[in-house]
Amino acid sequence: MVEGLNLALDQAMAADDRVLVMGEDVARTGGVFRVTAGLLDKYGDDRVIDTPLAEAGIVGTAIGMAVYGLLPVIEIQFDTFVYPGFEQIVVHAARYAWRTRGEVPASIVVRIPFGGGVRAPELHSDSPEALFAHVPGLKVVCPSTPEDARDMLLAAIEHPDPVIFMEPKRIYRAGRQDFPEEPPFDISSADGVTTDYLSKARIARSGHDLALISYGATVPACMEAAERLSSERGVDARVVDLRSLYPLDVDTLVDAATACGRAVVVHEAPRTAGLGAEVSSLIHERAMLDLEAPVGRVTGFDVPFPQFINEDDYIPSVDRILAGCNKVLDW
């Protein structure tokens, strides 16, 4: 996935000189995850900028740049470190269009490597996406494949509205995948195209017995659970990769639940008031009569992300997902 992200940045910067990259340690080192590697040499230090250590300053100055007319892509080094920039995102990035009659949106992309599973120390593993989905005025997206990472990041950069771009760091290196180098759309395409790329879920696996709905790093686990459901009990699960966390692609979700009659939503973030609750509510509201069982949730717990020796107890495992599916299937 890192390669896909790097390619998107490279292609966007080559095509549009308003695009720039900024953040802590993104230039000289190419970022702690190397997502921005090579860009400094190619585009120079006016467009690939190491900033002081101050997240509100990073988000806030990026908003100013966007107001001026540039398209900044900022990197938050790790999930937890977005909180000092939270005010700038919530009260400004999210409301700049609204406050300027839709005429001057804060066209920034906030890239956030997030989630656990990489044996990182304390406070490097949060999943704060639901916080952003609850804040009006943002787009919140999360790819789960290298190709989507490239396509969605390209779309996010050209998109007029601020995009919170959640990057599941656990699968940064997993699932290397070939895909056409060519961008899937004209990089300077208008809003319509980028909006499509930022609002549609993906059917990662077809099936008609159970809808498994997830995003980010738990999608591969859902795929594995789906395979096991198929081999272990002949159940054919449809896996829906949300991709867009706000707005949710309600049609695809409800279709899947309706077609299958059963659904389980899976994420790593804490359960209470997480996106699983929203997905579950939407499905019940719109498809209750088609459901054979209440929508299940398999999620992280309402506790701080544990120290890493215990992290696999916290992260929804294939076994936990299976158990959640079985509960819904046997209801």
Partner: protein
């Protein structure tokens, strides 16, 4: 550093030399701006008292800190006001009715303006949060090889926020052409500046960011102009940001919902009032024969006329449609949730337009929810 830059004299101090860049026309234009701002402000307070606007944050007495710096800016420079400089946009062709409408509770096309068109930031409510924007704008300009600078206004209280620090630091590191214009009116609501910082002179904060800091007399528009002018020259020559502390005093209440008698000796305020910038500048301009009574009243008459028609425009505004809630949240295609929400709203009887609270006789009270709640 404790001395303030001052051009216009006061009882105890003589006039200093007028900067030679300023001709008669310039002086009159600065004065005219102050008159417009004053008329707007007094009118807004009156409208609030009559229940025609919501709570309002008056700036009575701070006109010099607004008109002076603004006049030093070129049209291409960006300015970022806080709620205290709420009407500054009208000097940059934002309709005064728009600002009135904002205080009347309008958003959308009625209460907001196009920030890029006027190069005037949105009226900023959360303290110090617009400072990084001003830095970002001028940084972008520098990166693009343009010469546009930015100027941002904020209060003494704002210097306590983390965003102040981060913005100043970015500006220092990247040598952005940013002017930090701090209006030290010595109060943040009820908190005096000596409880805000252990530093005596706010201008001395600049040194921590490797930039020059200067204190000016905040009741003197020419001093405010001069400091800004010099800072802009420096900025455009690549010298980076500057910090200007305009030392003055908040002559009025924090806002129309605030009652300063709860926390300060109003005799002190009355004492400072003798220095208020309109009368002082008028006297000065008359002293140097740039202004006379006739011209002065003409300026007031003109300002009152245009403000009066802005009030009429504001009051002619329709009740915004339900769509206003949803229309401009995104610049891109609206999410499906909006259509559904709008349908829900359309299916029930619409609540009546929310009016500002009724006439407010007597002194304002603080935070009584029977009274309007201040922009605090």
């Amino acid at each position: 550093m404790t001395d303030s830059l001052r051009i216009i004299g006061r009882d105890d101090l003589p006039d200093n030399k007028l900067p030679e860049e300023l001709g008669e026309k310039d002086l009159l234009e600065i004065f005219r701006s102050m008159v417009v701002l004053r008329v707007f402000d007094e009118r807004a307070v009156a409208l609030q008292r009559q229940g025609r606007l919501g709570t309002y944050a008056l700036y009575w007495g701070e006109e010099a800190t607004q008109a002076g710096p603004l006049y030093a800016c070129s049209e291409r420079d960006w300015i970022f006001p806080s709620y205290r400089q709420n009407a500054i946009g009208i000097l940059r062709a934002v309709p005064a009715s728009t600002i009135f409408a904002w205080w009347r509770g309008y958003g959308g096309r009625e209460g907001f303006y196009n920030v890029r068109e006027h190069r005037v930031g949105p009226i900023c409510v959360p303290i110090a949060t617009h400072l990084p924007h001003a830095v970002g704008v001028s940084w972008a300009s520098k990166l693009r090889g343009e010469r546009d600078a930015s100027l941002v206004w904020f209060g003494d209280g704002a210097t306590s926020e983390g965003d102040f620090h981060e913005a100043m630091n970015f500006a220092g590191v990247f040598k952005t052409p940013t002017i930090f214009f701090c209006v030290n009116n010595q109060w943040a609501i009820s908190t005096p500046v000596h409880k805000q910082t252990a530093l005596k002179v706010l201008a001395d904060k600049a040194a921590a960011y490797g930039m020059p800091g200067i204190r000016v007399d905040g009741f003197d528009p020419i001093a405010c102009w001069k400091a800004t002018h010099d800072a802009l020259e420096r900025a455009r020559a690549g010298g980076g940001p500057s910090f200007i502390e305009a030392y003055c005093y908040r002559l009025g209440a924090h806002g129309t919902a605030d009652d300063p008698r709860l926390y300060r000796n109003e005799a002190e305020a009355a004492n400072w009032k003798r220095l208020e910038p309109l009368a002082r500048t008028s006297a000065y301009l008359k002293r140097i024969a740039v202004l006379d009574d006739d011209l002065e009243s003409e300026l007031f008459v003109d300002a009152k006329k245009s403000i009066a028609s802005a009030v009429a425009e504001m009051e002619a505004l329709e009740h915004p449609s339900l769509e206003t809630l949803f229309d401009q949240v995104y610049a891109s295609r609206t999410p499906w949730t909006f259509e559904e929400s709008l349908r829900e709203l359309q299916s029930v009887e619409r609540p009546p337009e929310v009016k500002p609270l009724g006439a407010q006789p007597g002194p304002p009270s603080t935070g009584d929810a029977d009274a309007p709640v201040g922009p605090s």
